[in-house]
């Protein structure tokens, strides 16, 4: 079943001859529960594409629907609501709020919901336990390792059970062992039905996905939507 449908998405910065076309005329469809890797060199447009798919960056042209909802026709507040309900973000730099404890960071997407404090705390604790950090909720981001910070970022992304998780270079700042753990975690989430779109420039990590989209100069140059097997060996540090 088609969950995400992007048609002729383009994104340009600047005007006239100085215009930079970060993404040009990309169309793709993503089924529910797919695990997609978007690959490309630096500056290829993969992060720009991810930000448009994540309702963070309005396209210059094209249309974008998630579960039949025309995302960029929503107002600012509705789009914020959409991000909260539909999408969990995992950023390369973790982007944890430094003055909030681990559990408070995980609770952030729940802050604006009408759940009680106890419910919020219980959901955040459950999310932390899912990523193996059940006992570290009270720590500050400065008191945990990079791998743990990435796990906290994942816990925050999944705390309100969004149907889609978007990860931008989730292993970019991690060593090989920790990268494997993070990829395993993403696979586990995917196996539980969550759609995952991951930007990476590591082929080994990309092989964890069941579909790889390669981008160059803002265009899709390869879409392995027909692939059915995953790499059995993942050396994400390569």
């Amino acid at each position: 079943m088609i969950q995400i449908s992007a048609k002729n998405l383009s994104k340009s910065y600047g005007e006239g001859d100085a215009a930079v076309h970060a993404v040009s005329d990309i169309s793709l469809e993503v089924g529910r529960g797919e695990f997609i890797s978007i690959m490309g060199e630096s500056g290829s447009g993969k992060s720009t594409l991810l930000s448009m798919l994540g309702a963070l960056n309005s396209p210059s042209a094209g249309s974008y629907e998630v579960e039949e909802l025309e995302v960029y026709k929503l107002g600012s507040d509705q789009r914020a609501d959409f991000r909260r309900e539909f999408i969990g973000f995992v950023f390369q730099a973790f982007h944890l709020v430094p003055y909030l404890s681990v559990i408070e960071n995980v609770m952030l997407p729940l802050v604006t919901t009408k759940k009680s404090m106890d419910q919020k705390r219980a959901l955040a604790q459950a999310a932390l336990e899912r990523v193996g950090l059940g006992g570290k909720g009270h720590r500050l981001p400065s008191q945990i390792s990079g791998g743990e910070a990435e796990r906290v970022a994942i816990a925050r992304a999944i705390v309100n059970e969004p149907p889609i998780l978007m990860a931008d270079e989730p292993t970019g700042n991690l060593d090989s062992v920790t990268s494997k753990e993070i990829m395993s975690l993403l696979e586990e989430l995917n196996s539980q039905g969550m759609t995952i779109i991951m930007v990476t420039h590591s082929l080994e990590c990309a092989k964890n996905a069941n579909r790889i989209i390669k981008i160059a100069d803002g265009r899709v140059v390869e879409d392995t939507s027909t692939w059915t097997t995953k790499s059995e060996v993942c050396d994400c540090a390569s």
Partner: protein, 385 residues
């Protein structure tokens, strides 16, 4: 966790910035509180002192006859031999709505008497009330007994009188209680006794020639007191001793203008401090705001965080500013009142007003930074790192 918790936790992390903002606003509030408290205290002190300068309203009979002057002030139609005011009217002055502003009401009986070869003006006054109406007499604790005289310095010289002498006025022998020092006023030429004795000598039982009133009203114009007395005493003319009243009001008005000028300046500086600090805070928190927006915070949620933070800082600044302002007023009041036991006037509304004022200022100064924060593009904010 709620939005307010994020604001509070951020304040705790950025203690120095919060303290700077709080201090700026607190100084502003403290200055305004100090100025207002000093103004109120000095006003009350001045009012209190000015009451000692004597009467500022004269009540005289309506008359077309001769006018007299008293103390260099026109008394309108006072006729010594014709119309008088009924003594019962004196009580009616105390019945005016703003009677709380009446410091003293002193009826006076005037008449000419023959003493030896000279005609002298005899005035019957209430010596107790004269303490307030004529403080320059310096009557002291011991007031003259009934039937005793107080003689003006010039009159004493012409009549060769000194304290303890007996003066024959008609069939009455009256003892001179004391001689007034030179006052430079018409009092120097008058012989004073108590009202009853003067009424008896002058044959004006139950009558008074004029009524002197010392009234002060910082909140309402003196004209309203005059109007109220006129209503209660329709057969009299009530007039202000304008120079005195005008002088008093002008002095207060200048001080008030100065107060407002300084207050506005200080408040603007306070607002600027809050504005600059909040703008700096928003710029520093670009990444955080980007994260908040990316994970589903609405613009209003971001504004809520910034404004809540501003409100908390302002609330604390308001409370501390009020306390500091009162303290500063207490310390500096003696400098403005020559240190003569002036009381600090505490307006109960000022405390609440100061806190409310501080919160309003903090919020107004933070609206623009909050708007800027709420309009941050999440994608740009996260890319800016």
């Amino acid at each position: 966790m709620k939005l307010k918790d994020i604001a509070l936790l951020n304040m705790r992390r950025r203690k120095a910035k919060a303290a700077f903002s709080l201090t700026g606003l607190m100084i502003g509030v403290a200055t305004v509180v100090t100025l207002i408290t000093l103004f109120e205290s000095v006003s009350h002190n001045i009012m209190h002192k000015m009451e000692k300068y004597g009467a500022n309203i004269m009540v005289v009979p309506k008359s077309q006859n001769l006018s007299l002057s008293y103390g260099g002030i026109s008394l309108g139609g006072v006729s010594l031999e014709t119309q008088e005011i009924s003594e019962s009217d004196v009580a009616r002055i105390h019945e005016i709505p703003t009677n709380a502003n009446l410091a003293a009401v002193g009826p006076m009986v005037l008449g000419a008497v023959r003493v030896g070869e000279s005609d002298v003006m005899l005035a019957g006054v209430n010596f107790e009330v004269s303490r307030t109406l004529k403080p320059w007499w310096e009557l002291g604790e011991m007031l003259p007994r009934e039937g005793a005289l107080i003689v003006g310095s010039t009159a004493a010289e012409i009549l060769s009188l000194s304290a303890g002498d007996t003066l024959e006025i008609g069939e009455n022998n009256l003892k001179v209680d004391r001689i007034l020092g030179p006052t430079g006023s018409q009092d120097d030429q008058i012989i004073f006794t108590d009202t009853l004795t003067a009424q008896h000598i002058l044959g004006k039982r139950g009558k008074v020639s004029l009524i002197e009133v010392a009234a002060l009203c910082s909140e309402c114009p003196i004209e309203s007191i005059i109007s109220e007395i006129s209503t209660n005493l329709p057969n009299t003319e009530v007039m202000a001793i304008k120079q005195v009243v005008q002088g008093r009001m002008n002095a207060m008005s200048h001080f008030e203008n100065f107060l407002y000028g300084v207050s506005i300046l200080v408040v603007l500086v306070g607002c600027l401090v809050v504005f600059v600090t909040m703008m700096g805070s928003v710029r520093e928190r670009t990444r955080e705001i980007g994260i908040f927006r990316a994970i589903g915070f609405r613009r209003s949620h971001v504004m809520h965080i910034v404004l809540f933070e501003a409100a908390v800082i302002s609330l604390i600044a308001g409370i501390l500013g009020y306390a500091v302002g009162i303290g500063a007023s207490w310390l500096s009041l003696p400098l403005f009142t020559d240190g003569h036991g002036a009381a600090l006037y505490l307006d109960p509304l000022l405390g609440g007003g100061a806190v409310l004022f501080a919160v309003l200022l903090g919020l107004v100064s933070s609206i623009y930074p909050a708007l800027i924060a709420s309009r941050l593009d999440p994608n740009e904010a996260l890319r800016a790192i």
